[in-house]
């Protein structure tokens, strides 16, 4: 098999099957590095650099991918890598990470050529698993469910990923970084009037997604000591799809946050939308805050959202 240059030169030539066994061992919570490597060459690998034998993980989802990057174990492949750069932005993927194409049909020949030890996916990708499992064992992890606990689940996901990457301590560090980001943001906003925040992304000139219960953004907003201005019903992914007129039902004292990228034609059309211009949180002439943060993200997105939002709110005149 021709290996792409993504593999470190020192990587031992293992069969795919043995790598698969490795991944499974990691899932079972066993000491993955030691056992896998020992089985390999019979040398004293316990002292070996853990990194060299760290399992190579491919992610079929951006939230899991960004979490892996933040844990210091970037995935060997993600779907739609260019899109990741536009929508997730930070944390950036290394150049070596391969692009698998669509998240609905991740390129299987490419994935097989990369021979990852483990593939991580989210539940709606279930129907793909019989195919992907022929390449490597698949670990399915979920952040967004309808029970309103996205943060707890994002932390658990980070923990499972860190264990799978053979570096269980990394998760605690990431969770601590997230808590620190929340605390720093809260400090930054201390002494300011705690106005509620309304987070929306525009899907076309007339429609928006607004984020409320079940969204990680809501958690971040509350940990910053603020309130989410959207109290409407949301789906398991944490948003309501509404016409822009629906924004008028939000708390009128809110600061509006639009998630980037906003399509150019939509931005232009908004300027001439009389209802938009008369919305309480637009009318005042206060600049709308635009944040490039991906929706349906994991802990790194929560950090990014918290950092960017608190910085922008702190700039504004009290």
């Amino acid at each position: 098999m021709t290996r792409p240059p993504i593999l470190p030169a020192a990587a031992p030539a293992m069969t795919r099957r043995r790598f698969a066994a490795l991944g499974l061992a990691g899932l079972a919570g066993a000491s993955l590095v030691a056992r896998g490597s020992a089985a390999l060459a019979g040398m004293a690998v316990e002292e070996h650099d853990a990194q060299a034998a760290a399992p190579r993980i491919a992610s079929l989802d951006w939230a899991l991918a960004e979490t892996l990057v933040a844990l210091g174990h970037p995935p060997v492949a993600v779907p739609d890598k260019r899109g990741y750069g536009e929508w997730v932005v930070e944390p950036a993927l290394p150049a070596a990470t391969a692009d698998l194409g669509s998240r609905f049909t991740p390129n299987i020949e490419l994935l097989a050529a990369l021979a990852p030890d483990l593939v991580v996916a989210i539940p709606y990708q279930g129907p793909l698993l019989p195919v992907v499992e022929r390449v490597a064992p698949v670990l399915t992890l979920s952040i967004y469910e309808s029970d309103g606990r996205p943060f707890e689940r994002a932390c658990a996901v980070a923990q499972r990923l860190a264990e799978a990457a053979g570096d269980p301590e990394a998760a605690a560090t990431l969770v601590a970084r997230t808590e620190a980001a929340f605390a720093a943001g809260r400090t930054r906003l201390a002494g300011r009037a705690p106005r509620p925040v309304l987070v929306a992304s525009l899907v076309d000139p007339h429609h928006a997604w607004v984020y409320g219960a079940n969204s990680l953004f809501t958690v971040a907003i509350e940990r910053l000591g603020l309130a989410n201005a959207w109290h409407g019903e949301t789906n398991a992914w944490g948003f309501s799809a509404i016409g822009i007129e629906g924004l008028a039902e939000a708390d009128p004292g809110a600061r509006l946050v639009l998630l980037e990228p906003v399509p150019a034609d939509v931005a232009a059309r908004l300027e001439t939308n009389p209802l938009w211009r008369r919305l309480p949180f637009v009318r005042g002439g206060e600049p709308v805050i635009r944040l490039p943060v991906v929706v349906f993200g994991g802990l790194p997105s929560a950090i990014r959202f918290s950092d960017l939002l608190s910085a922008r709110l702190a700039e504004a005149p009290a």
């Binding site: 739609d80 990708q125 409407g232 992914w237 948003f239 822009i244 007129e245 001439t272 209802l275």
Partner: protein, 671 residues
């Protein structure tokens, strides 16, 4: 002239009924509207909100800039579509013509999607111009395709729905390559009526007024046309000019609605039909009543949708909802009344010059298929670019490639065989397995499995798809078996079922749930999930069914002549039709599981085979099977290599390749 005067009396009485019922419906709508209003605003503020809203009062702003313009837009769009449908039905003398069934909306939508993604500069010329071009092109293709059949209603309808399906799947392929913008394309495709100002209503109003004036001018010549082309010409009507003007008017109205609001399906079909049911029979009465019915229909639907929308925290696009209700109305019309009885087809469309040595042609085709299959197995891009893989490299890739290639070939072969059987069964060159309703049934089953079962495994999906296909098959066969439907009417039933499945998907998609997106991607017919056992099973089923096909060879030779000659030649008509229908449905169901509900391969295969001079049933079947397999193998290969590492599902790729080819083929062979 006497005929006209005679026709006038019942119209007047009918108009009173129409007016009465419309007033009733209008009152109901008014009740709903005011109920909606009063949840937002106390009644004493309504007038102020409507005329000069207080900027500080969000409730008044909502009424002024959202609720009222939305109501006005619904009324105007409904009226425009009703008028467009009424004009189309009159000028084509076809009670089932409408912007939806002629592919006008789908054509406009595709043109706008293409412009949005690739040539945003074109939109600077005006979205309406782009939509008009798309809708006009769709109608032109439809008329071109059905010209040979003398623009008979059923032929026009089949061509129209085909063009609609084609444009719809092309738009789908575009969205699959632009996942992040899928949602906006679907909201718009679903025709959401959400408004935040009066601009849309303000644009639609004058257009409707102009169109109304034009329609008033055209009413008399159109009525005279109804007396027959020669009579009309004798009375001094410039027949061609009137027809062209009426068509242009209808297309412009419908495409304006698409560009300003989105696709609001089936209102243009249902409104004139309802107006007719209510008693508006003359041209003038119909042209007046249809817009009124359309306006009330869409406004009431939208008011109900607004109520439901809020309840689920999800977006329900009104246009997709009208399609969910409209498709069954089309079905009901097809089953009960509406179309004049027509001979089942005389088989002239199937005529072609016979080749001297048909089996040599088949052999050459088989060699070409083998070559394509080899290409699909050996060549493809990897992370470093294109390469031909041999030896060890190939050994790594083959386990991924051969099941997909084999499954694609089997599916293509089965679809083409089903196409041969159906075209010969109906004597209609536009018949294809995409239109038996079985594909839609299988897709419906898959949708059900993905949505309802939390973890739809391979087996569960397969079972659900088969169950859906079987259900559709039972329905179609039951209808056919009772002899209620001529074969080509039955094809329309299948297409209507397909439109229904599309509408359900559109409703699901607009909510933005990623699971629905994934479902959409898979339902378009990817061989992605085919593994070795599935591929072998598909090939086995294909082999068994194809072995059964030649048994009906004599029937296939005789049936295209039509029912009476066939009976005279001793064909047990009902049994033969039923058996062939079951065979084609089984072929289609097995193929749909692999390549999705739409591909056009079943339509294309037989045409290409006949074009090569394979006219005897056995040779045509063999040639079409090989061609179908080759086209699908090529589609699967191109689909996974051209946009690498992304993929276009094989079914969609085949549609994209096959659609224009088919149009060219049919247009060129027109006499």
């Amino acid at each position: 002239m006497t005929a006209l005067r005679l026709g006038a009396t019942p119209v007047r009485g009918g108009l009173a009924v129409v007016a009465g019922l419309l007033v009733l419906a209008g009152l109901a709508g008014l009740g709903l509207a005011s109920a909606g209003l009063s949840t937002h605003l106390p009644a004493e503020l309504w007038l102020q909100a409507a005329l000069a809203p207080d900027d500080a009062d969000v409730r008044q702003l909502l009424v002024h800039y959202s609720l009222l313009p939305r109501l006005a837009t619904a009324l105007l769009a409904g009226a425009a579509l009703g008028l467009s449908g009424a004009v189309l039905q009159r000028v084509l003398a076809n009670p089932l013509a409408s912007p939806t069934t002629l592919g006008i909306e789908a054509g406009a939508r595709l043109a706008l999607a293409v412009a949005t993604l690739w040539w945003p500069g074109l939109l600077g010329l005006g979205r309406e111009a782009v939509a008009l071009a798309g809708g006009g092109a769709a109608v032109a293709v439809v008329l071109l395709l059905s010209l040979r059949a003398g623009l008979k209603p059923v032929a026009v309808l089949l061509a129209g729905l085909l063009v609609a399906l084609y444009a719809g799947s092309a738009a789908a392929a575009l969205t699959l390559l632009n996942e992040q913008w899928l949602v906006s394309l679907f909201i718009w495709g679903g025709g959401s009526l959400a408004q935040q100002d009066w601009s849309v209503a303000g644009a639609l109003g004058p257009r409707l007024a102009l169109a109304g004036a034009a329609a008033a001018l055209l009413a008399r010549p159109l009525a005279l046309l109804g007396l027959g082309e020669d009579t009309a010409r004798g009375l001094g009507v410039p027949v061609a000019a009137v027809r062209l003007a009426a068509l242009a008017l209808a297309v412009a109205l419908a495409t304006s609605v698409v560009s300003l609001v989105g696709v609001v399906a089936f209102v243009g079909l249902v409104a004139p039909a309802l107006a007719g049911l209510l008693g508006a029979r003359g041209v003038g009465a119909r042209l007046l009543a249809a817009p009124a019915v359309g306006a009330v229909l869409l406004a009431v639907t939208d008011l109900v949708v607004q109520r439901l929308s809020g309840a689920y925290g999800e977006l329900l696009p009104t246009g997709a909802v009208t399609a969910v209700f409209g498709a069954p109305v089309l079905l009901a019309f097809l089953l009960r009344r509406g179309l004049p009885a027509e001979p089942a087809g005389d088989g002239r469309g199937l005529a072609a010059a016979a080749a001297g040595r048909p089996w040599w042609t088949v052999a050459v085709l088989a060699v070409a298929l083998a070559g394509l299959a080899a290409l699909a197995l050996l060549a493809g891009p990897d992370a470093h670019g294109w390469r031909i893989s041999l030896g060890e490299g190939l050994a790594d890739l083959l386990p991924w490639r051969w099941p997909r290639t084999l499954a694609a070939a089997s599916a293509g072969a089965m679809l083409a065989a089903a196409g041969v059987v159906l075209q010969r069964l109906t004597g209609n060159p536009m018949a294809g397995p995409e239109m038996v309703g079985v594909g839609a049934g299988a897709a419906g089953g898959m949708i059900f499995a993905f949505l309802v079962l939390a973890d739809a495994g391979r087996l569960a999906t397969l079972a659900a798809a088969s169950a859906g296909a079987l259900l559709a098959l039972v329905v179609v066969v039951a209808l056919a078996g009772r002899g209620r439907l001529p074969p080509d009417r039955m094809l329309l039933v299948g297409v209507a079922l397909g439109a229904l499945a599309d509408a359900v998907v559109a409703v699901l998609m607009a909510g933005g749930d990623p699971k629905a997106m994934a479902l959409f991607a898979w339902s378009t017919g990817s061989t992605y999930r085919v593994d070795a056992p599935a591929a072998l099973a598909t090939a086995l089923v294909a082999g068994l069914l194809l072995a059964a096909a030649p048994v009906g060879g004599r029937w296939l030779a005789i049936l295209p002549l039509g029912g009476d000659p066939a009976r005279a030649l001793g064909v047990p008509l009902v049994a033969a039709r039923l058996l062939l229908l079951v065979l084609s449905a089984l072929l289609t169901a097995a193929a749909t599981l692999v390549v999705g509900p739409l591909s056009f391969v079943g339509l294309m295969g037989p045409h290409l085979a006949r074009g090569l001079g394979l006219v005897r049933p056995g040779a045509e079947l063999a040639g079409a099977v090989v061609i179908g397999a080759a086209v699908m193998v090529a589609a699967d290969w191109l689909g996974r290599t051209v946009v690498f590492p992304f993929e276009i599902p094989a079914g969609l790729a085949a549609t994209l390749i096959g659609g224009p080819w088919l149009v060219l083929l049919l247009a060129r062979r027109r006499r």
